[in-house]
Amino acid sequence: MVDEVGTYRTEQAACGGEGTGARADASGAMSADDAVGVPPDASLSELLAIAARTMGAFRWHTAQGTGISPAGLDVLRVLASRGGLKSSEVVARGWSTPGRVTSVVDTLVRDGLVERRRNEVDRRVVRLYLTDRGSRKLAEAGAIIGPKWRDACNYVAREDEPVVRRFLTDTIERFNELIRKERGTRPPPTARDRRPAEELPRSGAAIRAEDLRKTYTTSRGDVQAVRGISLEVATGEFFGLLGPNGAGKSTTIGMLTTLIVPTGGRAWVAGTDVMANPVGVKRRIGVVPQNNTLDMQLSVSENLEFRSRFFGLGRREAARRAEQLLVAFGLTDRRRAMATDLSGGQARRLMIARALVHKPDVLFLDEPTAGLDPQTRVNLWDTLHALHAEGQTILLTTHYMEEAEALCDRVAVVDHGEVLASGTVDDLKQGAGADTVITVRYEGGVPRELDTLSALESRPGVSKIEADGDQVRVFAREPDGVLGELVTAGARAGLTVRDAAQLKPSLETVFLTLTGREYRE
């Protein structure tokens, strides 16, 4: 029996297969023709077998190329699927066979491919970060960034692209057809029914904003909530808008989702002009606002059903879709509950489910984990990871550094209505905040020992020193010993150290470096 999960796995396998398609010749495990040639009359099980075969070849080859054990590759693939070749992380808690996980993870850690950290919040959760070496290895091996088969072709070497594309489209087409046949459901969608890929700009951007502005006129003068934000989010990307409250994130989302009319600039979502065709945009987006906007007069399943019907599904189709989503989001036992009776985490899940009823091209999430307890938050991250792995384009706003770091492919740091910097989290850290920031606050002002400070300044690895009021802040690439020197300097001057902190390079230090201000959450 082929269920949805079956489909999914197959697609994963097919996705893995593209690597094979690309490298089969080199590996000699199977010829490229074997990998790409899908027999026109293959049955579903045969197709599955082919996919499995290509998958196996892929593993074998990659393992050979990198010297990583195949089991290790499994884990790396999970890692890669969760964050691309960036500083990925994975929550290992849910893994079912701890023994296996441990040994695999240990191997990876020993090889320097992965760095393991325990979660501060929940000690049972282990987070794995893909190290630079791991990224390099993966890149060398020509691995696939994620099981986003829709975009998979983009990541494969140029010359192999047509072959792989053919393989993928063929396989997936055939899978879908067979599954439909087996279920005896509707005929395949016609070209008109398909998502309007042709409407997308050539660049394939899911979201494009050019100098987007919003000025509010109030009795106290004009307030510039957004002062010219430009963004480009690729299809399949997980993009984060990171900034403190009041930075203009929600206003930006409001403009992109047609609920706020910009006072300047232009924006396209799913290839549709936000201002010229708001209804067209609304058809293609799913929005999870910050507030609980569930229909409180309706039950959990009714919330999903009616939303589906708003988007044109028939009554029976809508019921089916609602059921799918209830299962997917673990809300089946609450289906009859009124929306008012849900816990915070359940409500948030229902809102995400509701935003997905019509298969939106872009999912917008405005502060999805604000106000949730840490456990629920981590669970929600898992859900978002999984959606992203499926190829869902997501734009998320957050004021939690760690959230952006954990989830997003790329991040734009926003403050006072402007983008301060954008790029992958790694890029940002390299570019602006590679330094560790050491802050020491003294009781009664900064010590007058300027020579100490200048001694620090000339120290290798220290890039900047800021003295401000009662505190000194040192930006250092090699922070060892700096904190000690600052404390001793204070002691020599007879000043008590009131507060000392050392921040490792993170989005927080990026923010600090970019704005010179503490990150205010």
Partner: protein, 342 residues
């Protein structure tokens, strides 16, 4: 794993090293298993109405009870209790109602009340059914955003809200009829006979739409904290001065009032129904009634839908100034000013 009330999202199957894939079993269904939607304006509109009826059906007992009590009590007191205790003569002492067919016994009070209470119900239901939900939707959680994201233009959403309110108003008016017909003391039977059913239907529909449109406009402009004012400042005066308990022609004794109440749309609803239901009682000219009801429904509907769309799109202005200045009422005043300015 701890047992928390918030079960992990989508964790029907945990991330497993075996499968080597991400979790969220159903995420598959979420994306690849989704049916392709074909939203059209008509389908979306129909789905929204279906949602209203679902809610209405669920709240039917309480809605029904709430809407029946007021007319029932009015009728009971005025056409049963008062005549029984002899107070009915008070009404006739004033010389009876002019224009009433001066037949034996004159016009019963229930004859006056039938169209009057129907009109009162139209206003009450039309406004409460539209204004209350809207004010809630616009208030702190802004659930209006939910509906605003449906794939239709905002003014279609406004029209849908008017339609839903109008249906409730219409049903409310129908409830009054059996009450007035059956609850009264002996000899207090209302004299109603309809000659033009089409005209009755037209007036009922136009009045329902007018009251619901008024409800939309009020719900859009109303400051949620001033909700009590709705009754004191709008519903009560509109009812008491809306020719519910007396025909307009009887007001000739107080000429200034007779002219003043012409600004009350309620008057046209009462008098319109009076003209088609109990024509023997004197009533306003039909052209004036139709002009105000139909023209008003169109005009107020237009204004309401414009105000609504702007409120949905501009709300953040209000929120921002509200937060910044900490002045709640400014929000409301400024909204009005902006509407006037634009």
């Amino acid at each position: 794993m701890t047992t928390t009330s918030n079960t992990p999202a989508g964790r029907a199957a945990p991330i497993s090293a075996e499968s080597g894939t991400s979790s969220l079993t159903g995420a598959v269904a979420v994306i690849s298993g989704a049916p392709v939607p074909h939203p059209t304006m008509a389908r979306t509109f129909a789905a929204m109405m279906a949602r209203e009826f679902r809610v209405l059906g669920r709240n039917l007992p309480s809605t029904f009870t709430r809407s029946i009590i007021q007319p029932l009590l009015w009728v009971f007191v005025f056409t049963y209790v008062m005549p029984k205790i002899g107070a009915a003569s008070l009404f006739e002492a004033g010389g009876g109602y002019p224009g009433a067919a001066g037949g034996a016994g004159g016009t019963t009070f229930s004859t006056i009340l039938l169209p009057g209470l129907m009109a009162s119900m139209l206003l009450m239901q039309g406004i409460t059914a539209t204004t209350f939900p809207l004010v809630m939707e616009f208030s702190w959680q802004r659930t209006i955003e939910d509906r605003a994201l449906a794939p239709v233009p905002l003014n279609v959403l406004a029209i849908q809200k008017i339609t839903a309110g109008a249906v409730q108003a219409f049903l409310g008016a129908l409830i009054v009829i059996p009450i007035v017909l059956f609850v009264h003391a002996a000899g207090q039977t209302p004299h109603a006979h309809v000659t033009n059913w089409a005209l009755l239907a037209l007036i009922l529909v136009a009045a329902s739409l007018l009251t619901a449109a008024l409800g939309l406009l009020l719900g859009t402009l109303m400051d949620p904290r001033k909700m009590q004012m709705l009754f004191a400042a709008i519903l009560l005066p509109a009812t008491m001065l809306g020719c519910v308990f007396y025909p307009w022609s009887a007001l000739h004794h107080i000429r200034w009032l007779q002219i003043a109440v012409l600004f009350n749309p309620m008057v046209y609803i009462s008098e319109g129904l009076r003209a088609v239901l109990t024509p023997e009682v004197g009533h306003l000219a039909m052209w004036a009634v139709l002009l105000v009801l139909v023209g008003g429904a169109v005009l107020i509907g237009y204004l309401g839908s414009e105000a609504f769309s702007r409120r949905v799109l501009n709300q953040r202005v209000a929120e921002l100034s509200w937060v910044r200045a900490g002045l709640g009422n400014i929000q409301h005043r400024k909204m009005l000013l902006r509407l006037v300015d634009d």
